[in-house]
């Protein structure tokens, strides 16, 4: 199953099969993060979203995040699935599942995964607001890099 721990899909995401990927007899804790499409952001209403990915590189970066996590929290196992295309309100955009013998690592590694996804994985979100549309990440809406510039040390392996 190792080669399908990290996926980009165009169909609705089911959570349970992703949890199954990280289940192990030695793991007593599994955390999942489910990112869904939110209707309201700072008073602005979203009608729907479009996600675009540079698919082969995105999957490589998911695997890189998985390796980083295994290094930082030994004995954890990570699976990530991200959906692209058009997503409506409440649709699942991303699921991250982490299993670990103990719960602390499962929480920490899971949160680390979503932070890293937002830093290094080439996936873009186009918001279709009630009053227009924008690619998020551009300077008009939100620059995800803290100092306004991508930081090469975050992304190089």
């Amino acid at each position: 199953m190792t080669d399908s721990l990290f996926e980009i899909v165009e169909e609705p995401i089911q959570v349970e099969p992703i949890i199954k990927k990280v289940e192990r007899r030695e793991a007593g804790a599994i955390t999942t993060f489910i990112g869904t499409v939110r209707e309201w952001t700072k008073g602005k209403r979203t009608l729907y979203l479009e996600y675009q990915a540079y698919i082969p590189m995105a999957i490589k970066m998911f695997a890189k995040i998985g390796e980083e996590i295994e290094k930082k929290w030994p004995d954890t196992m990570v699976a990530i699935t991200h959906r692209i295309g058009r997503l409506d309100i409440s649709d699942i955009a991303v699921v991250i599942a982490v299993s670990s013998p103990h719960r602390k690592a499962a929480y920490e590694a899971n949160e680390y995964a979503i932070e890293r996804i937002k830093q290094i994985v080439p996936i873009w979100k186009k918001e279709h607001w009630e009053d227009g549309k924008t690619w998020i990440g551009d300077q008009l809406e939100n620059v995800p890099y803290p100092d306004g510039k991508p930081d090469a040390k975050d992304v190089k392996s």
Partner: protein, 77 residues
């Protein structure tokens, strides 16, 4: 020939998702400047670059046969 991939707003600005650029070798920085001139891409300063699916720096060299992707600030998750 260098294959250049565009995503998100860059794709819309250029009106295409791929550009074939005829050069033997060029730095990332030079490639960015050249594409800004030729395709009116407004802003490539905040845009990261990947060469063959690995992040690269402005000083890195691109050679014929490479695939370069311009990666605007990402917003997945």
């Amino acid at each position: 020939m260098i294959k250049v991939l565009l995503f998100a707003h860059l794709q819309e600005e250029a009106g295409k998702d791929q550009i074939n650029y005829d050069r033997e070798s060029i730095t990332v920085k030079e490639l960015k400047t050249s594409l800004q001139n030729d395709f009116g891409l407004a802003e490539l300063e905040q845009v990261m670059t990947a060469i063959n699916e690995e992040y690269a720096m402005d000083e890195d060299m691109v050679k014929s046969g490479d695939t370069v992707a311009f990666i605007p600030p990402v917003s997945g998750g």
